[in-house]
């Protein structure tokens, strides 16, 4: 099992959710985060005072997938949200050791 931490622009969440659902994912969660990458932040101006805002709002979608589905899902997500501009986001992939479905006690891949 692999965990994907998909960091995207706030407006892209629906697209990601849709392609993940089409790919057969049964569950995910997301949170609103702030941060910066190469895009850095943006300029805001209040009454002539210029302010550099470094950390922009982003959405992080966390989803755990079967090993064999990984490449296909990465492909689907990247295609769905890529605009070609800096600030499109990143996906971090990590190994998941185990999983438990609390209702039935199933373990590992069966619990996803």
């Amino acid at each position: 099992m692999k965990k994907l931490a998909i960091i995207i622009k706030p407006g892209m969440f629906e697209k990601v959710k849709n392609v993940l659902t089409e790919a057969g994912i049964h569950g995910l969660n997301y949170r609103e985060i702030r941060g910066f990458g190469r895009q850095r932040g943006h300029k805001e101006v209040y009454r002539g005072t210029i302010m550099q805002v470094d950390c922009l709002p982003k959405i992080q979608v966390d989803v755990v997938v079967h090993d064999e589905a990984l490449e296909k899902i990465l492909d689907l997500v990247v295609t769905a949200v890529r605009t070609g501009q800096v600030g499109d986001g990143k996906i971090f992939v990590t190994d998941i050791q185990d999983a438990v479905r609390i209702r039935t006690g199933e373990r590992g891949d069966a619990a996803l």
């Binding site: 805001e44 101006v45 209040y46 009454r47 002539g48 005072t49 210029i50 302010m51 805002v53």
Partner: protein, 401 residues
Amino acid sequence: MNGADTGYIIICAAMVMVMTPALALFYGGLVRSRNVLSTTMHSYACLGLITVLWALVGYTLAFGDDVGGIIGNFAYIFLRGVEGTAAPAAEQLPHTVFMGFQCMFAVLTVALVSGAYAERIRFSAMLLFSGLWLIFVYAPMAHWVWGGGWMAKLGAVDFAGGAVVHMASGAAALACAKALGPRLSLEEGIVPNNLPLTLLGGGLLWFGWFGFNAGSALAAGALAGQALMTTHLATACGILGWMLVEWKRTGKPTTLGVVSGALAGLVAITPAAGFVGLLSAMVIGFAGGIFCYGGVLLKSKFGYDDALDVVGIHGVGGTWGALATGLFAVASVNEVNGLFFGNPYQLWAQFVSVAGTWIFVFVASRVLLYIVDAAVGLRVTPDAEFTGLDLSEHNERGYTL
């Protein structure tokens, strides 16, 4: 007494009253979310405290019989003799209506100062300072200009409060910003918590300002109509002036810039509203927008933390408006000619009133702040400041989303 004038001024008084809650919205949106209620509270507290103090002593000090050009006597102390008579200053109005109309100006002026000390003042200090300031600064200022005091005798004119309301609140704001020192967390960048609130407040201020300026004619006639339209045109031009310099300097026009430019235009035309022609009003408003944009940049140059730009907008705009009255006033509108219409003395009189207002109000405010600091302490503790005044001073939160 006259029914039409009385009805008109009653409505104008209500419109000026609305300006204080409007100011609460305007200021409330500009601070950080942890101070939105305390900033709003500063205006609402003035509606309570200043109204009562005005009725008991403020009115008589401002509009009682002149004592040496300095202050009014105690003829109307505790509103003695006010009920059931005509106003000596405006025979067409019941005395109660004139007193009430002036009361709304006093409340608003004291509330305007709160923009300077927002986000760090102790609430008890704010109340004490506001009460003292009404009696020892506002009442004499109103007397000097409108109550037959030395500025009036000098020939300086101020239609609706360029000196009494705007320069005075600006000079007091400068004193407050210097006495309190800057907010502790300036380096985190102060981003307004709710600009739509500020924009709504600004629009309501504009509405109320028609009562403020046109109502200052004190009668429902041609002069009120003149003031209505000088006010509206100057405000429109204030928007354009601010937008223009902002677009050039930082690349994009902003909504906060537009509402600030409107306010700058309103402030600038206030002393001139019933003395100048309509085209002059447009010039005054446009220049007001540009000057006040420069005004709000002063604080970073000189290092005082006037949190919500009372000095930059009301101080600078009021000063420009008072001087502009000495330039653009024309007797065909209202008895007085300015420099451009052949009367250089008027500009001199306006200049003296500007210098007198700044010096008196700044010095007197510093003295009052010193007393208040010694009595109750001006600033909240650093811990309370980081927590926010909403919780530390009022046990409330503005947003629980």
